[in-house]
């Protein structure tokens, strides 16, 4: 019981932090409005998918160093396929790229299971492989994205019955994110497979002895991770309209946000909500630093300090509650 409370407590705390940050933002820049919030949502998009990809393997007791490279590969694949193609062709590209992420993610899992090499090493090797593949697909940034695809994250959705003022605060990018995460995460969380993912992360031996097909579950976790990473890659292509073969800063950001979001790196604990909120917090901090025109060399220090301080604070709380 106390466990559930503690975990939800962390997420609630993050939410509170996010709200405080919004207030701070509004104080710094009184003109901060719904349009700026839309920008935030679009900035969050690729990070959120990267974090979702990382979260699911971390819960399964692993780690995936190849998320950013996977995003780069899926992004260039989508962009190069759509370059010069018709608008309708993108209808085929999107599922193709998602399937590709799923398969490559599963490949990560299969390699871990078959070679029995620790996941951190397998995914490190895959980082190079996927990066190489991305360079083979496009040796320089390029490609294109269908217009309708780009439009899916611009603006807001008209929802009947909702006043415009509220609607303005529901950017498409946010809805897309929520929908994509929910249609996968919620059924998964409720399924036997979802339980199994938590189980192998919590105690692989106990899971195996409980009859959980450990190998298959691990492969599935990595496959979902690949799927989320492919969504992240598509998000990159959607927002930039191109594909870039050099991975962005999503790997380290995803690990940091997972931990900030209350998911234990040992596995078995936490959920998706915390890390996603953590992503919003981190992006909003970046916004505030820019609004405040802080010396850019200091921003790295501030971001590092925030990361370390929050995690230390979390560790401190758990330590206190363990003692009492």
């Amino acid at each position: 019981m106390s466990h559930i409370l503690r975990r939800q407590g962390w997420v609630a705390g993050l939410f509170a932090l996010l709200i405080i940050l919004f207030i701070v933002t509004k104080l710094i820049q009184p003109g901060y409005g719904s349009g700026d919030f839309g920008s935030l949502a679009r900035a969050v998009l690729p990070y959120a998918f990267a974090v979702a990809a990382q979260t699911i393997v971390v819960i399964a007791g692993g780690i995936d160093l190849s998320v950013a490279a996977m995003m780069a590969l899926t992004s260039v694949t989508a962009a190069s396929m759509m370059a010069g193609a018709s608008e309708e062709y993108a209808l085929f590209v999107v599922p193709f790229v998602l399937a590709m992420g799923l398969v490559l993610g599963a490949l990560n899992g299969v390699l871990i299971v078959v070679t029995r090499v620790p996941d951190i090493v397998v995914t490190l090797a895959m980082l190079f492989v996927l990066q190489g593949a991305a360079l083979l697909v496009l040796d320089a940034p390029g490609g294109a994205a269908a217009e309708w695809l780009k439009a899916t994250i611009v603006g807001t959705v008209p929802i009947p019955g909702l006043p415009d003022t509220v609607e303005a605060w529901l950017p498409k990018a946010l809805l897309l994110l929520v929908v994509c995460l929910c249609i996968i995460w919620i059924p998964l969380r409720r399924s036997r497979l979802g339980l199994s993912i938590y189980a192998i992360g919590s105690s692989e031996l106990a899971a195996f002895r409980s009859g959980v097909p450990v190998a298959r579950t691990r492969i599935a976790a990595y496959a979902f991770s690949g799927l989320f990473a492919a969504m992240g890659g598509l998000a990159l292509t959607m927002s930039t309209g191109i594909g870039a073969p050099i991975p962005g800063p999503y790997l380290l950001a995803s690990v940091a946000a997972v931990v900030l979001g209350g998911v234990a790196l040992g596995g078995g604990k936490g959920g998706l909500l915390g890390p996603i909120v953590a992503v919003f917090v981190l992006r909003l901090v970046r916004t505030d630093l820019t609004l405040l025109a802080i010396d850019p060399n200091v921003t790295a220090i501030i971001e590092g300090v925030i990361m370390v301080a929050v995690v230390m604070f979390g560790a401190f709380i758990t330590m206190r509650s363990r003692q009492s």
Binding site: A125, F128, G132, A300, T318
Partner: protein, 328 residues
Amino acid sequence: MSSAATVPQAPSFGRRLKRFMADRPIVPLVILLVALVVILQILRPGIVNERWIANTVKFAIPLAILAGCQTMTMLTGGIDLSVGTVATMSAFIMATQIVNQDPTVAFLLAMTPAVLIGLVNGIGVGVFRVHPLIMTLGTSLIGTGFLQVYQRTVIASGAKIPDFLNWLGTGVSFGFPNALLLFIPVAVFIVFTLNRTGFGRLLYAVGDNERATRLSGVRYWQVILALYILSSLLAGITGLLYIGLIKAPSLSLAEPLVLPSVAAAVIGGTSIFGGRGGYAGTIVGALILTVLTTLLTILQMPEGARRMLFGAIVLLVTAAYLRITEDR
């Protein structure tokens, strides 16, 4: 009493060979290394000469020392991702402070961030129990930030590589790189520490079962604090050596060594889960990676294919090594 009995009949040659390898995991690693060198020689006849070996060793040494940091931290179930930043900071501060400071002062200044980052890492991991991955990632971000701030204050004064470091980094005496003068004592120190000192014992034990060490009277935070400071100091020294080798102070000098240092330790047979491994394997792991890099550099192929091959070979080597050495 245990009733475990040894298998009476003599095992087959294959089994004996496997057991031999499992007991001496360094042997298959050296075989892998030699195989890579042979492949290189076949692809580019004549490349394996004295000068090439000296160059390979020169580049493997900084990697091997950083991989030593990883080996020690990995034995406790940790990892130190801040080594790249620490090495870069020491190198950069040395190169910029030497311009108008006494060498000793410059050296002390160069090692200061190493000690501080090690201290912060140690406190975070040992006292607050923050996951080492996150802790060292965070301190490396902070360190990079400070380095950038610092960099702006020394733009006008320029930089200089001290002759001694230059000699140490690039020089060759009697066919042997001078860097060995630094590396051999460091390697002996690490191997001795791990195998023959109380501290080394504790590293293994802490990584294996922290509660057991606590019940035996070990204070976890002391071990971890000492470990991360030691790791940072070694990284700082690596930075000085590396700046002597590369001779170009940049703000990302040693960053490219971080992931390979983890890979070298893993290829060398150290478990990232703690409690298992050693430094001898790591040294060979670093050599394997360096030779592999050379091999891929001279192969004519698209960059993408090169990277794919690199990843595939690292995975293959690690998997093969695990297969050979596991005894069950």
